[in-house]
């Protein structure tokens, strides 16, 4: 059935509720499919989506040239505590680094404290010490005691440990001892998964390095099993190309390499959304973007500056800090499922509790009685109950109204609609303040940026958020609900390798640095070569993590060996970045912390867009809705997204429906199609 000569690229993103598939043909076709996620065995949903593509779309296995996947398996292993029984081998005297943590607590007023570090990764009995020690210059102070190592490994094996993390002090300066320990483990327990701290995170500060290395070991067997499962399924389906997996910093890696460093998969899903947002925004002519992904329980905020997603060098997983580069996504606990409630003094609050997908908002009719943001949207007339989620759910607006009436409207003495409007105003304020804080904290004025809403809920709140933030332009992707899957097809294949290089910038001679970079690059090239990417497609970028002497946080700045004075250039760039982020620059000496090399092969096709329709669009429908700008219901045009033509101008109040989302255009805003098929919503300038 496959049309002769057509090849296909498939992106599949596993989400909490749905597994999304985007399939792009070389003939320009773009197809989408959502199937229910299979939480206990996520690969089942992937394979059923693939089977659908084969049977319904006629995609022949042999014609599939890219199979890219965004997965939650590493994250879920942590959230559900289903990782391996992990042991740690460490320097004598430092067994308790993981448990001591940094000793500060997150919640100041909570008297019932819980351990702040992830001690569950490896309880004290499973942490073993070996005699060895390097000093702060990398010199051996105490040689490695191999008898200690053998004893430690034997004890861990005996205890039934399933993965070992090796975290020695200053291993990032000289990894010899860690490598030797790995070799001994290899002799004594050949199948034992091992994570070495100098490979996972070669940077100073032992708690942070131990923590991320332990996480890596903890999820490694689970991720390996899962990836092997998916790969086996692909093989059975006749697909012989390597499975590509999205990594947290927004690049793909083939399964065997991704499985080696599973701690880099924690943001696999959200990274796809950010890359998708980047491409959609760029196609519409915007290089500075704030993406806001509003789902059921949370809202994920990310910034893209000058066409590049912001990357941060550490992030949070389940509330624990993990020091691994990732797209800078900040999750806030507000979403469509956020529950509205009254506090003891009678004030309206929204969230952070969410109704989730079970029982879900009251309108789902699954027993949920708490009013949610989605219920408010229904009462305000934004959502057409018959066509929500493609009509699959059959919403019951009377349940929404009843829930809002009982919980909010009556106690406040408001009409149902005014109460629903109140829920929207409160949740929008919360989200807008969060977006503002994320931006300001990175030295960015949101007013200069375009807002790119995604997820099923994003486009409903976009104009209200933009108004709060002083943003004039909104870009709604063609398919905001499956953008994370689409982003998989626009992502580069990418590898990043770093090495500690703790030296003052002024003390470093250029040849020394280029030598060191060459070593790092060689390691990176090994990885990208293993991907089978043609040499000519590989782009290489060098970066330095720099800080002022005496500071302990650093900034990543590009390093250009071809520049006239590369070191001076990097220093100037550091001063500029410091000024932008921290508000001042002083001519104080700087220090190198790490060297980084990133090699990437860009995607051949970018993020798939759907071509705009041609011809005369059918006239829109009409419906009465409530917007905050008017005290009464107003008539709104109801458009179908597919029906919008290139010359259509849609003035708010209007609603644009499509299978995966609903876009609300409030009064004062006008929507039209942009280049690439996105919807551009702009603020009407005052006459």
């Amino acid at each position: 059935m496959s049309r002769a000569g057509t090849t296909y690229e498939i992106g599949i993103d596993t989400g909490g509720t749905f597994t999304d598939m985007v399939c792009r043909g070389s003939d320009g076709s773009v197809r989408l499919k959502k199937v229910p996620s299979t939480r206990s065995n996520p690969s089942a949903a992937i394979l059923s989506a693939l089977a659908f593509a084969q049977s319904e779309w006629g995609v022949a296995s042999a014609d599939v040239t890219l199979f890219a996947h965004g997965t939650t398996v590493a994250t879920n292993a942590v959230l559900e505590r289903r990782g391996a029984r992990t042991g740690i081998i460490t320097t004598a005297g430092f067994r308790d680094v993981l448990e001591n943590g940094r000793q500060s607590r997150r919640d100041m007023y909570d008297l019932a404290l819980r351990a702040q570090p992830p001690v569950y990764l490896a309880p004290r009995r499973d942490r073993k010490e070996v005699r060895e020690r390097l000093d702060g210059t990398g010199q051996v102070v105490v040689p490695l005691d191999e008898a200690d190592v053998r004893r430690a490994v034997a004890e861990l094996v005996e205890a039934g440990i399933e993965a070992i993390a090796v975290c020695l002090l200053f291993s990032f300066l000289d990894p010899t001892h860690e490598k030797r320990i790995a070799a001994i483990i290899g002799e004594m327990a050949p199948d034992m998964p091992v994570s070495l701290s100098h490979e996972v995170d070669p940077a100073f500060r032992e708690y942070e390095r131990t923590c991320v290395t332990a996480f890596d070991a903890y999820v490694k067997p689970v991720v390996a099993r899962y990836l092997a499962d998916v790969e086996a399924g692909l093989l059975r389906s006749g697909i012989h190309i390597p499975l590509q997996v999205m990594q947290s910093r927004g690049g793909l890696a083939s399964a065997p390499i991704a499985g080696r460093r599973p701690v880099r998969l924690f943001l696999s899903g959200p990274a796809g959304g950010v890359i998708g947002g980047l491409d959609v925004g760029m196609a519409a002519g915007h290089r500075d973007l704030i993406t806001v992904d509003i789902g059921g329980t949370s809202c994920d905020i990310a910034l893209i500056t000058d066409g590049r997603p912001l990357i941060r060098t550490e992030g949070l997983i389940d509330g624990f800090t993990v020091r691994v580069p990732m797209v800078d996504v900040t999750a806030v606990g507000s979403g469509g499922g956020s529950i509205a409630w009254m506090d003891a003094a009678g004030s309206l609050k929204v969230g952070p509790q969410s109704a989730g997908s079970e029982p879900g908002p009251a309108c789902y009719g699954r027993g949920g009685t708490a009013p949610t943001v989605t219920d408010a949207s229904l009462v305000l007339g934004y959502i057409d109950p018959a066509s929500f989620a493609g009509g699959a759910l059959g919403l019951r607006p009377e349940l929404s109204a009843a829930a809002i009436r009982d919980t909010v409207a009556r106690p406040l003495g408001l009409s149902d609609e005014d109460a629903a409007l109140g829920i929207h105003r409160v949740v929008n304020t919360q989200m807008a303040e969060s977006i503002r804080l994320v931006s300001i904290g990175r030295g960015i004025d949101p007013r200069r940026y375009a807002l790119l809403p995604l997820g099923g809920g994003g486009p409903m709140h976009a104009t209200a958020l933009a108004e709060e933030l002083g943003i004039d332009t909104i870009i709604v992707p063609p398919n905001p609900g499956v953008l994370a899957a689409a982003g998989l097809l626009g992502a580069p294949i990418e590898h990043e390798v770093s090495a500690a290089f703790p030296r003052r910038l002024a003390d470093v001679a250029l040849p020394e640095l280029t030598d060191a970079f060459a070593g790092v690059e060689a390691r990176c090239r090994e990885l990208i070569t293993a991907e089978g990417v043609p040499e000519a497609r590989v782009q290489t970028a060098y970066a330095l993590d720099l800080c002022y002497v005496g500071q302990s946080y650093h900034i990543e700045v590009p390093f250009d060996p071809a520049a006239a004075e590369p070191l001076q250039r990097a220093y100037e760039d550091f001063l500029d970045a410091h000024d932008r982020i921290y508000g001042h620059r002083i001519a104080h000496p700087a220090k190198i912390v790490n060297l980084r090399v990133v090699q990437r092969a860009p995607s051949s096709g970018g993020v798939p867009m759907r071509a705009a329709e041609t011809g005369t669009p059918p006239a829109p429908g009409r419906r009465m809705i409530r917007v905050r700008q008017h005290a009464q219901r107003v008539e709104a045009a109801i458009w179908q997204r597919e029906a919008i033509g290139p010359d259509t101008q849609i003035r708010g109040p209007a609603i644009i429906d499509q299978a995966d989302t609903t876009t609300l255009v409030e009064p004062g805003w006008t929507a039209r199609l942009a280049e690439g098929g996105a919807l551009l919503i702009e603020r009407e300038t005052a006459a």
Binding site: G93, N100, L169, E206, G346, V426, L437
Partner: protein
Amino acid sequence: MTSGTPSSLDPITVEVTRHKLDGIANEMQSTLLRSSFSPIVKEGLDASAGLFTAGGATLAQACAIPIHLATLIPGVETAMKTWPAETMRPGDIYALNDPYLGGTHLPDIMVIQPVFHGGRIIAFSAAITHHQDMGGLSAGSVPTHATEIFQEGLRIPPLKLYDAGVLNETLVAMIRQNVRIPDTVMGDVFAQVAATHVGARRLCELADRLGTETATAIFDELLDLSERMTRRSLAEIPPGTYRYVDVLDNDGIDLNKPIRIEVAVTVRDQSIHLDFTGTSPQVRGPLNCVPSGTLAAACFAVRAVTDPKIPTNGGCFRPISLHLPEGSLLNPKEPAAVNARTATIKRVAGSILAALAEVLPDRVPAASSGEMVMLALGGRTPSGAAFVTADQIAGGSGASRYLDGVDVIETDATNGMNLPAEALELESPIRLLQVALRPGSGGAGEHRGGLGTIREFEMLTDEISMSYRGERHFSQPRGLFGGEDGQSARAVVIRADGTQEPIPSKIVSTLHRGDRLLIETAGGAGYNPPAGRAAAATAADLADGKVLAAG
């Protein structure tokens, strides 16, 4: 939409405004941290910003450490007393640091800006920063051996930093001349100004939208709401007077003289009164604490035992009253030294909570270590470069009715981070030999107290000056309802020749190559009798070596 009287305020607008005020406070805080120069702000987060009503009550505050809670209130009050409202002008910004005139201790400078809208003051925008140096006896301006405030640094009474928008060059020159690192200090002061400007600007935008009258009416309403919720929460505490007595080891000067902290907490009529009669008279060393410190501790304790969902603002503090005997540790007379007040505030917060434990057995845990060791080491590296390094070291937290205490964690009034071995050794000729839990230090109980920690340092060069400020060396965190006490802290200098010199809680000394410093912090106390401990929990403790095997 609203007519401006509280009774007719739109409840949705009130809630939206609350979010905006919190957002403004957070943006002020972000600006403050971002624009500051010194590591103590950027990494110790020792800076806070907030908005206050025209009447001086906290409207919204972003604060990273509890010790800053409510701490700006006396500063704002002092400014209001110094300059009556009719004399304040747009563009005025006030500064002060004198503990006896609204401040806390000299390193903390407060910057306060009146916010004008509709021709009158609608609020104050303020920021407090712990500055890296304020002159005085020793670098950092927290000399452990100070006996009067004049030794602690430059005292700034309430003065205009800006007079109607014009910078007070005289004051700036005066500060610059008196501190060791003038560029850093003034950089941090201007970061505070940047933060108060952000607060003032955004508050004006908010008032533009709401109208002056409605805005201030909403501010009042928000305080009333939090007050109502706090009083309702306090009404759930059985009325009565609850007492607690604890002791601090010494003041660092008179080493054999314990310092008594006594509190009587009276809960009655939806309010709480804290009477510190019986507390030691002021001491010679710098552990004295001006009233703002006890207010911060009291506000912290009340926030911790009331409904956590209550939005934090001045309304939460209205039901609190204090009696601090004049001339006592907690209300010292000039010129008592006050720089080391943190240890005192910590213990005051712990004592208030401990007093309430008997009537709030569900909420209040057994005593936590009550200490955070402040360690400073400095000298020259073998290459001759000067180095100074500091570490903050916590003990264990107390067990509660439902949970074991947590090993090695910051509790109550402080929230600092420890120093990684790899950060220490990359910069200083000092080696960390061990970072360990301290087995057996947690008080036994059905729920065990959290363990303290052991940290051992070895000096790799001569002439390293050390200042060690500990606590809980001569007392123990007390167990609750039959739970046992946590172990005391101890610290010892082990000279290269093997001689042991125990540290009497506080010391300033010099260490040389091969000398070791062994620090063991206190454990948290236990809850309920040990006999009730689940067998599995005991087995896990033994397997993990967290308790010492019996016998």
